[in-house]
Symmetry: C2
Subunit: 302 residues, 2 copies
């Protein structure tokens, strides 16, 4: 930290020391600041055919709110930032309290600052995205907080539309977000508007309906899914969702699920070949040819 000097005087004749002593930080009304941590993992759908490999499924941890506002609705885990912890610490704390995991991938996503986000007061919220692999969670089965559940996540594009205007156009996507946990289904509809006008581009999310998802969390989830999908294409971020060892087909299924499209095995393998290391181990008992197990190669991008 920089030391406080006592030599320069401001227009009121105060040195910095004197200035700080008389400074009243409560002159203006302050917003509250919270941190929300979107915790994603990948799970497997159960399969009936002993030969079929299970499908991969993206899951997000949601918390059922026990008090007003949005009581009984589901929300992304989060809380207010304590005055003596920084934002990453707050996000990590939230993550640890809910999952018992530590030292996992955590990335700041966006800060949401609309005036009416919370009926209690002005709340500015910084959202973080955490990626954890399901296996590291097995110990703490997630049932200690009885109202924290892993919901499967799906964002369907219901319609897309392009409208021209002078010097540009609007690109509108009608997105349906569906979260499922056992017999609970949470649905929300969001309109994503990309505006291109005079070189300037702007993305905006508007919640049309959000029946059982609290606050503006539906659009935060959609935002996170978009970011995740984009980053999967040009970074190694997806490996954070994988267990220590995995087969290339499992990896491919995760990529394919996140990107929302089928991938051809040959070119997928070529593409991620330098990001993985082959181990001596193989799968067995799968009802078909065993597959080599691989680990992530942390030195791939050199």
């Amino acid at each position: 930290m920089r030391e406080i000097k006592d030599d320069i005087r401001n227009k009121n004749g105060l040195t910095e020391k004197e200035f700080l002593k008389q400074y009243n930080s409560n002159k203006y009304e302050k917003p509250s600041v919270s941190v929300d941590t979107l915790i994603f993992t990948v799970d497997e759908k159960t399969t009936n055919n002993y030969r079929k490999l299970p499908e991969k499924e993206l899951k997000i941890l949601m918390i059922k709110r026990g008090d007003h506002p949005y009581m009984g609705k589901w929300a992304i885990p989060g809380g207010f930032v304590r005055i003596n912890e920084n934002l990453e610490q707050a996000a990590n704390r939230e993550l640890y309290e809910e999952t018992g995991v530590d030292n996992v991938y955590l990335e700041q996503l966006y800060t949401w600052g609309d005036v009416d986000r919370d009926p209690r007061m002005r709340v500015i919220s910084t959202s973080y995205m955490a990626l954890v692999d399901k296996k590291s969670l097995k110990i703490k089965a997630g049932d200690d907080a009885e109202d924290a559940k892993w919901f499967s996540v799906e964002a369907k594009i219901l319609s897309e539309e392009k409208k021209n205007c002078e010097n540009g156009y609007f690109y509108t996507k009608h997105i349906q977000l569906i979260l499922r946990y056992e017999d609970i289904t949470l649905k929300a509809e969001i309109i994503e508007t990309k505006k291109y006008k005079n070189k300037k581009s702007e993305v905006n999310y508007e919640i049309i309906s959000s029946n059982d998802i609290a606050f503006d969390h539906a659009k935060i989830i959609v935002f996170a899914l978009t970011r995740l999908k984009n980053k999967v294409e040009y970074t190694d971020i997806a490996f954070n969702l994988m267990p220590e060892v995995f087969t290339l087909t499992e990896l491919q299924k995760v990529y394919s699920m996140l990107l929302g499209k089928e991938l051809l095995a040959a070119q997928f393998r070529r593409k991620i070949n330098h990001m993985v290391i082959e181990t001596e181990e193989s799968t067995k008992g799968g009802g078909q040819r065993p597959a080599k197990l691989f680990t992530f190669n942390p030195y791939w991008n050199e």
Copy 2:
């Protein structure tokens, strides 16, 4: 906005209406929230040879602080978020007050939440990056606020180092940031550490010295430069720095400057060909062959 219901009661027997009435948002100490707007533009270095085309130069608007803390040092324009404006509005307001321009490219960058960023109190700051073209600024010459100046920006990598550790490595860059306006030179040194360990990757910026740049703004500038450089490669963001019409060589010089490397004309032209529209106009009086003028094609990515 969602209506406040009056049917569900929480564990204290309160409906939402009653709950909100008795809710005290000042139970916990709140941080202050500010917005900093990094305003970049591209300018031309003066050239002595009438034939040589001027070199392009990235500039950032900095404000000389008139009061404690960091009085007399230079800072990114910014201010506290008003309780009734959202973050984008605050960033746009700052931008307009300093440059008189409106409706330009503005992107949220990152939210800085370290506990000791400001000696007055806990301040959480969301930084935005604005890109404007120099010509739109010509009217308001930037001299109305006598202590707002356009500094040229340069980030030099002094050294790079890789250290291995168990299950990963550290990648350290020693970066020197140099801002210049006439005879004023602001220097700062920042260490960027990328940590790769057990799949988890983490980037951290530490300010080693920052003589005349206020607060942690030196690392915010370095962060913005990195983001800008990355986005230039895979988006059309650079066009926000261009005037209405431009030659392809001018565009190439801007790309080349932002990316920090030479580009070959033939492949550059092929690459950006679909992003521009040829006009009927040409340059003249340049001391050499005239060049066609182009405009941005907002429909290129379809």
